[in-house]
Symmetry: C2
Subunit: 377 residues, 2 copies
């Protein structure tokens, strides 16, 4: 018998939170980072290796998957877990964010967002109900409401309109979610841009509707980090302590550290894989651009104390060579190294919260980043 | 104490041969297929996975590595084995073939081939002596002579000139190879295009000079398969039985089967990885183009009896999707699947020669290919 989705807060340390939640596909320890499997694959990393990195949950993109191969097709093939060979939990976004960033001829009204596919020009209509239907066809363990997400800066009037529409869509999503199998979860999304009053209003209204978890959306869309952190500080006290809090599309390792410090439990971001494909390795001593000329003859590994074998097996010179030669194996190695770094950062945060030493961990982690990479010394 | 390079012929079955040779980096069972690690990586496949496929020896490309990162740099970094994390044997080509196919402004005279790098326009001069020096700097277990390789069709006069020059360069390569560490091997390359008399002349002259092994070069450059096989049949009887025979740059699974039947011991080809990146899977029932529309909704795996996990884990629909979405993971899976198929084909040939049943193996293998893929039935 599948239990209802439940988040258990096991420990707090200041405002940082340690917990876990159970889904039909397994448990997730929080704070958690979710690698992004945009089109049914975490780019350039086999699912076995994603799991080895320590990731317990992936994010799938509704926008990409609804266009290709299509939600009904994925369902007919046994769902997204089976399709992409990821037996663990999956969270899907609602499609709204990529409609904004990728589609053409986007038109929004009370009922739906209508857009033209960036792949072949086909017109699609995405209603809150259809977004939930797609996510359930994919088989997502955690389903996100459809919302309207604006780029910042945006006017107060536009932000307020987006908050109100997103709240009406949140209520429609909740009704549509009633057909979900037991154990699955629906998260609402707090909007409001960089406006504190709107953020509070959005969060309170979502809590009144009632969701299994609450996301903070519409951040990391162009605003400075301090604005993002101020919005988290504004929203967190409004949200119920017994529900997970998910900061969408964030971020840098420093963003993760600061957001966990402010009570965030979940993250997703393409940064580890995207930056990996572009030659950046995340390490304990800050980011390393392997394409930089200083690595061209450097026999040293990236970081011999890291837990990822590739960080001690391969020289910087080799990683530099793969990047310059545009070899797929370079993207494979750096994407995998970065996923492992992100997971080790999350594991470090979880352990330090448990031990009541999160502030120490945050300080020493930042000191290491500030020390800088050995190749630059 | 490293032993001199030696090939041991353990069994023949008709003209098919079963044997092994030992190098400073380990033993290679023959007939052997060598995956190609063009630029210090077998494209889109981690070295651990190349080894898991059953490959015991890789080919590295002198032309690519001399241009980037440079032979002296690879040597300073500990050699190609360490650079690319491949602890097993490596054979390097001489650079001559890629000078012909990739470089600009190629100019050939008695002393050297002079060419402009396709990467940055730098002029390089490659003499037989420099080719050997580069290959020894890379640390190759098997070093190839520099030769002149022509595209077919070519005139008799051009073929003869190329044979004669290649023979003079063979002698220079042998002298230059004297400084090689013990256990390393130097192979001569039979040229002569599609001219039987020239092929015999080239082979006899090379045997007179004396090499650890003999390659048949200048094939699979545009001629029909029957011409290639006729050249092998012409050359094989001239070559000493106690030396390995390597058919360069070949080929399709059928080419391998037919060439082994005619006494070839070694192969290299980019086909399994290149075709994999372009959406072709080699299977027991012939090639499968996963991009073909017939796979779009097909839940069946590629081949549930194959020894590669990905051929039963993933549906054809998923492989189709990855290919259409241009996902790196598609290239990773198909390259790995194809390397494993090639190695299983070689293993099947080795076992059947040992059992004295090579003709049966050849017939049933071809019957399976002719049966065709299930998706086409």
């Amino acid at each position: 018998m599948t239990q209802p989705f439940a988040f258990t807060l096991t420990k707090t340390n200041g405002t940082a939170r340690r917990g876990h939640f159970d889904t039909p596909h397994g448990r997730v320890e929080t704070p958690a980072f979710m690698p992004v499997g945009t089109q049914g694959t975490v780019k350039a990393v086999a699912p076995e290796e994603v799991a080895e990195s320590g990731a317990q949950i992936l994010l799938g993109n509704t926008y990409h998957l609804m266009l290709r191969p299509g939600a009904e097709r994925v369902a007919a093939l046994g769902g997204l877990h089976k399709f992409m060979n990821w037996p663990g939990p999956i969270l899907t976004d609602s499609g709204g964010f990529q409609v904004m960033s990728l589609s053409q001829l986007r038109k929004l009204d009370e009922n739906a967002v209508t857009f033209r596919s960036h792949l072949d020009g086909t017109m699609y209509e995405l209603t809150p109900e259809r977004s939930i239907e797609i996510q359930l066809l994919l088989g997502a363990d955690i389903v996100m409401q459809l919302d309207e997400c604006l780029r910042l800066p945006a006017s107060h009037a536009d932000l307020e309109k987006a908050v109100q529409l997103s709240l009406r869509w949140a209520a429609r999503c909740k009704r549509a979610f009633e057909k979900a199998p037991p154990g699955h979860a629906l998260f609402g999304i707090v909007q409001g841009g960089d406006d504190k009053a709107l953020r509070v209003q959005s969060a309170q209204a979502l809590v009144d509707i009632g969701f299994h978890g609450y996301a903070v959306g519409g951040l990391a869309v162009g605003e400075p980090q301090d604005v993002m952190l101020a919005m988290i500080e504004t929203v967190a006290p409004v949200l119920p302590a017994e529900r997970p809090r998910y900061l969408m599309g964030v971020g840098t390792p420093d963003d993760l550290l600061e957001a966990v410090a402010r009570g965030i439990d979940m993250f997703d971001c393409v940064m580890p894989t995207r930056n990996g494909r572009h030659g950046m390795a995340f390490t304990r001593f800050g980011p390393v651009n392997v394409g930089n000329a200083r690595h061209v003859a450097d026999p040293r590994p990236l970081d011999e104390q890291s837990n990822h074998p590739a960080t001690h097996t391969y020289s910087r010179a080799y990683l530099h060579h793969l990047h310059k030669a545009n070899e797929i194996f370079g993207a494979m190695l750096l994407s995998s190294i970065n996923l492992a770094y992100y997971q080790s950062l999350m594991a470090g945060m979880r352990a330090s919260i448990e031990a009541g030493r999160f502030d120490d961990f945050r300080r020493t982690t930042k000191e290491n980043w500030a020390r800088g990479d050995i190749a630059a010394l």
